[in-house]
Symmetry: C2
Subunit: 320 residues, 2 copies
């Protein structure tokens, strides 16, 4: 492997000059610059990035912590991060955690070991404080609403509220909700909105987990089997909502005549399924998180908007 010193020898210059040529620094005479470039071609020299990282003391790499990749919400955020990272000539390492704390800790370890310069925590199991212990090693940006941290998020309380208000406006009183996980910050906010706004809110009308289409099918089956059925469901993911929708239709239930459904995320799927949904800018969450983690030097909180998109799975309550 030829290195910068070989280059210097062949070109008849010092290593500093070679480095200057490599990095397009000024103050290099044309003839020497050409001699170096000639040597590079002759020896087939290729820069060792690892050495550059060590010498510069930075890796131009960030870490991304998320539970699953094969889930549209997370992959959309990841897409946003990837896009922005590419433009900024940054790389990113991903920790796909399944919400296992041990895996999240590995990402923190990488941060402290200076393998990554910052961390985007899309969703996590570990307490936020555990993350903040590592703040000295690099910026940590969350995609969930925690106090006193840099974060890019959507106000899920308000988002759920808008969905619930819509259902109430349509005359629904027996409303159920489906939450992705039991105890996440988002779920807590959403649950609060539920109990704040729905007079007849009931613990047994909260279904969880709601992450996959299969969860949707399960939720629909449960609904079918229950003797006191909500007339409307606000579901934390379009994917899950699609599962619910299809399973109910299969069972002969008419949507929205028999039950109203509202999804969440605004995934393209919701459009072809004509699902009413609360749309959020997932890619932008990722992009902004990347911007914060690389550019910002103070704690920043970015709240991105949501939008209730009414389509064909919601209507005025007709039955009891």
């Amino acid at each position: 492997m030829t290195n910068i010193r070989d280059l210097a020898r062949v070109a008849g210059v010092s290593v500093s000059t070679v480095s200057r040529v490599l990095n397009d620094h000024p103050y290099v005479a044309d003839d020497k610059r050409q001699a170096v470039q000639q040597a590079i071609l002759e020896l087939g020299y290729i820069r060792n990035q690892t050495a550059v990282h060590l010498a510069r003391g930075r890796t131009k790499t960030i870490g991304v912590v998320l539970p699953y990749v094969d889930h549209p919400y997370y992959s959309a955020i990841l897409q946003g991060i990837a896009r922005r990272a590419f433009d900024a000539e940054y790389r990113f390492l991903m920790w796909q955690t399944n919400y296992e704390e041990e895996r999240e800790r590995l990402a923190l370890q990488a941060l402290s070991q200076r393998e990554v310069e910052g961390l985007i925590v899309v969703s996590h199991a570990l307490a936020p404080e555990e993350f903040l212990k590592f703040e000295d090693y690099g910026r940590i940006v969350f995609c969930e609403n925690h106090p006193n941290v840099s974060t890019v998020y959507v106000d899920h309380y308000a988002g759920f509220r808008s969905g619930l208000e819509e259902l109430i406006r349509l005359g629904h009183e027996k409303i159920g909700i489906c939450l992705s996980r039991e105890h996440s910050v988002n779920s807590i906010a959403r649950k609060k909105a539920y109990f704040d706004l729905v007079p007849d809110a009931r613990q047994e009308w909260i279904d969880t987990p709601a992450l996959t289409v299969e969860d949707g099918a399960r939720i629909a089956s449960r609904w079918l089997a229950s003797n006191e059925r909500p007339t409307a469901l606000l579901i934390a993911s379009d994917y899950v909502a699609s599962g619910v929708y299809m399973t109910l239709r299969k069972a002969g239930i008419r949507v929205p005549e028999d039950i109203s459904l509202i999804g969440f995320d605004g995934h393209p799927l919701s459009a072809v399924m004509e699902l009413t949904t609360i749309s959020i800018p997932c890619e932008e969450i990722g992009g902004e998180a990347f911007r914060l983690v690389t550019e910002s030097d103070k704690t920043e909180r970015i709240i991105l908007p949501f939008e209730l998109v009414s389509r064909k799975t919601t209507s005025v309550r007709t039955n009891v």
Copy 2:
């Protein structure tokens, strides 16, 4: 930043001994080991991974080249890679390319610069030969069928054949297909299967691109507007097939009475949509590709199985 030499000084040993302790080498006396561990705690020492990478001459990192993350096929493969990489204590860098050659070249550059030890090329725009030029720098594994390369793939010719045979068996003669991209290896294989097996195969019944649900909606609209309609569609992705399905149903077309649909991938969505599909083990593709790129030392070709899963979007042709 305290380093290994500070540690040596404080512990009263040499740097070699410190390194031995850090790496659990044998041949370190207990008292010295403890002295080093004590020093580590005292000084709050944290290993610099970049230095380790440089010294060891390896990064335990591989690169992944794929066009999009927010697409279920790719994210499922990525999930497989991520899972396996975690177990092997490997990291991976991702190049999300949008099929832009320039972006793919950046991944190759990273390989040559020893930033990554190998490359998994899930799908690509650049000619395979362009990749193979870089084989000296590390193993390159494809997830598509190219000659003379390490690859993990599904036989898409056979896969499409099985779908087409099923449709023919059901009495369909006017069969259309939807391909993800015009000129990918997979599409070429699939197109060949189409022309080999379907007597009335027509160029105008090949629809492309077919990557997103929106593509599905577009394809369905085209079908609705055409005057000579295929009675069956074999679609290269469940996502797209879902889009087709929902859009046709919206328009009052009965599936499978008026048209049979077969999807591809075996995505969970196909189950709740009751879509007939050709199921392939996406996660396993990723996992095996990871295994090859890190463990194998010769060119290996792994062909993974597919399976036709008959559900409710296919039936005997009833109309003309």
